[in-house]
């Protein structure tokens, strides 16, 4: 099981504001999932390397060349929700 306090901590780490009702629902849902995960304890994974994924594990290299043309700076900057003179506007970081 998982406590309301833990749900609040996770919400804070996830940068999501939750209502009290959501906290309770998530406490229940996450608890059920974590109970289900208990079955993994049955599996002997001694000397098993974790698998992160990928079909061919080889480094991918490319030449160190400018490749921004495909998107275009203006289109990317134009997609900003708030901007001015080609820059992204954000609220103050320091108070």
């Amino acid at each position: 099981m998982i406590s309301r306090e833990e749900v609040r901590h996770l919400a804070s780490l996830s940068r999501i504001e939750l209502t009290a009702a959501e906290e309770e629902k998530l406490r229940h849902d996450l608890g059920a999932m974590l109970d289900h995960f208990e079955e993994l304890k049955e599996v002997n994974t001694d000397n098993v390397e974790p698998l992160a994924g990928g079909s061919i594990l080889a480094n991918q290299f490319r030449n160190d060349e400018d490749s921004t043309n495909r998107i275009g700076n203006d289109a990317a900057v134009g997609a900003f929700p708030e901007g001015a003179s080609g820059l992204l506007k954000v609220p103050p970081v320091f108070e």
């Binding site: 999501i16 939750l18 993994l40 609220p91």
Partner: protein, 480 residues
């Protein structure tokens, strides 16, 4: 022209023979969407004017005596988590309601190069997280075979569009079954290619070690044509692989396909499978036996752990990928804030639906200090065991056959209150992406379920880069 009988290959022949124009075909599909989509709800954004203009360009090529690419004039439905320049790409989230793509995804660029026609962007579960499109922030896509039932998900919109004749083919993305499960529910073909064969550049990332783009089509032959049009290495996706370069190039002849041995994993034939699904899979096996294929029972002993492994690894990657949706760069609906942190928490609370929150929190949990090794690392180790199961089985057989889903399409609202029961609908589709192997859902036929009839499908899983095996067997199956 009968839209029902049209396929990608017959459309191509018709255009070359000038039996009809690309604009006429596009117009017919626009009309079909007008007539049917109010009921089904497959589309989120329509692109009718752009589609007719693109079709007119195809006709101009024909008129000038030019050659047509295989996808020229083919009217397509595109899942709304893929970027088409100048068109909204919402991922069915409130967070991206007004987000307009600044560039084309690589798959779109390739299809535009072939002069394909895009009819619109289709519905999905928010950020591709779900099995029914009920997690869409906009509406639920209904199953064209029975509108009281789900189309499946997360790529439910593209599957329903193809099934209802509102697109000739479509694109979806598959992370744990999001192409194959809706394909099975809607009675169309859906394939998840080998991890790395199709570029994800311009696909809104969900779980990057699993996500793969693939085709929805009416026939296996069409799936092959569309797959070959979108595959290939892309410098913008470091996980993409050039499959035509040795040693991955693999193109068997028809007589070689006939020699392939098919494995039946005993762990996939468990209690709780709907009788209609059992009948459908048995019928497919019988038909393949008649075609001369030999079968062998195989064992994939770690199958039962795949769901737990998936629901640890996937949310971990989701919580990381969705961190970029912070109210800064893509959308900012809540603006009246004084502190930066307030901007994050309020925009994410406003923009993310319940399932997205659930997975972000679960992912944050399994990655957090104190739990990382017990959950995330443990799941990655069991993931290797699941992949090794397939490696072992593929020493004995070439292809593995199984059900796609435990049941046919379920009722809208049936599983929304219990997330775990919803997650269980993906138990047969989750192992393939964990192992990175290709898998295809092929319709058998409709079976009586309750008072109506619903499609049932079977799944073929192949070795890494052996799409040709599952497509080849599938093509023989559908021609029989």
């Amino acid at each position: 022209m009968d839209l029902k009988k049209l396929t990608i290959s017959s459309l191509h022949e018709g255009l070359v023979a000038k039996d009809f124009s690309a604009r006429e075909v596009a117009q017919e599909y626009v009309k079909a969407i007008d007539a049917r989509d109010g009921e089904v709800g497959a589309y989120l954004t329509r692109m009718s004017d752009a589609a007719l203009a693109a079709a007119a360009e195809v006709d101009a090529v024909v008129a000038a005596g030019g050659e047509l690419a295989p996808l020229a004039g083919v009217p397509l439905a595109v899942k709304d988590n893929m970027l088409i320049k100048g068109v909204t790409a919402t991922s069915a989230s409130k967070m991206l309601e007004h987000y307009v793509a600044a560039y084309d995804a690589t798959v779109i660029e390739k299809l535009k190069f072939e002069h394909a026609v895009f009819l619109g962007k289709t519905n999905l579960d928010e950020f591709a997280m779900g099995s029914s499109t009920e997690n869409s922030a906009y509406h639920v896509t209904k199953n064209p075979h029975d509108t009281s039932r789900v189309a499946g998900g997360s790529s439910g919109g593209s599957a329903a569009a193809v099934a209802a004749g509102m697109a000739l083919a479509g694109l979806g993305s598959d992370t744990g079954g999001s192409i194959r499960q809706p394909a099975a529910f809607c009675g169309v073909v859906g394939m998840k290619p080998t991890y790395g064969t199709v570029s994800r550049f311009g696909l809104t990332a969900m779980a990057s070690s699993l996500d793969q783009i693939g085709p929805f089509t009416k026939t296996v032959e069409d799936a092959k044509i569309l797959f070959h049009a979108i595959k290939g290495k892309d410098v913008h996706d470091a996980t993409s692989i050039d499959v035509v370069m040795k040693p991955f190039h693999y193109a068997p002849k028809t007589e070689d396909i006939k020699k392939l041995k098919i494995g039946i994993p005993k762990e996939y034939f468990i209690e709780g499978i709907d009788p209609a699904v059992t009948k459908g899979v048995e019928e497919a096996i019988t038909k393949l036996k008649k075609l001369g294929f030999t079968f062998k029972e195989v064992s994939l002993p770690h199958t039962k752990y795949a769901l737990s492994v998936y629901y640890i690894i996937m949310p971990a990657e989701v919580s990381t990928n969705l961190a970029r949706l912070d109210g800064i760069r893509y959308a900012r609906d809540v603006k009246d804030v004084k502190k930066l942190n307030e901007l994050y928490v309020k925009n994410r609370a406003h923009g993310f639906g319940p399932e997205t929150r659930r997975r972000v929190l679960l992912g944050t949990f399994v990655l957090s200090s104190g739990y990382y090794d017990a959950y995330y690392t443990k799941a990655q180790k069991v993931r290797r065991l699941i992949k090794q199961d397939f490696d072992e089985a593929f020493k004995e057989v070439d292809v593995i056959l199984s059900p796609v889903t435990p049941t046919p399409a379920f009722k809208i609202g049936e599983k929304t209150s219990d997330p775990l029961s919803m997650y269980l609908s993906d138990i047969f589709t989750i192992p393939a992406p964990l192992a990175g192997i290709p898998a295809i859902s092929i319709p058998v036929k409709k079976y009586t379920v309750g008072s109506g009839e619903l499609p049932v499908a079977f799944q073929l899983m192949g070795k890494h880069f052996h799409e040709a095996d599952i497509l080849g067997i599938g093509e023989m199956y559908e021609k029989e």
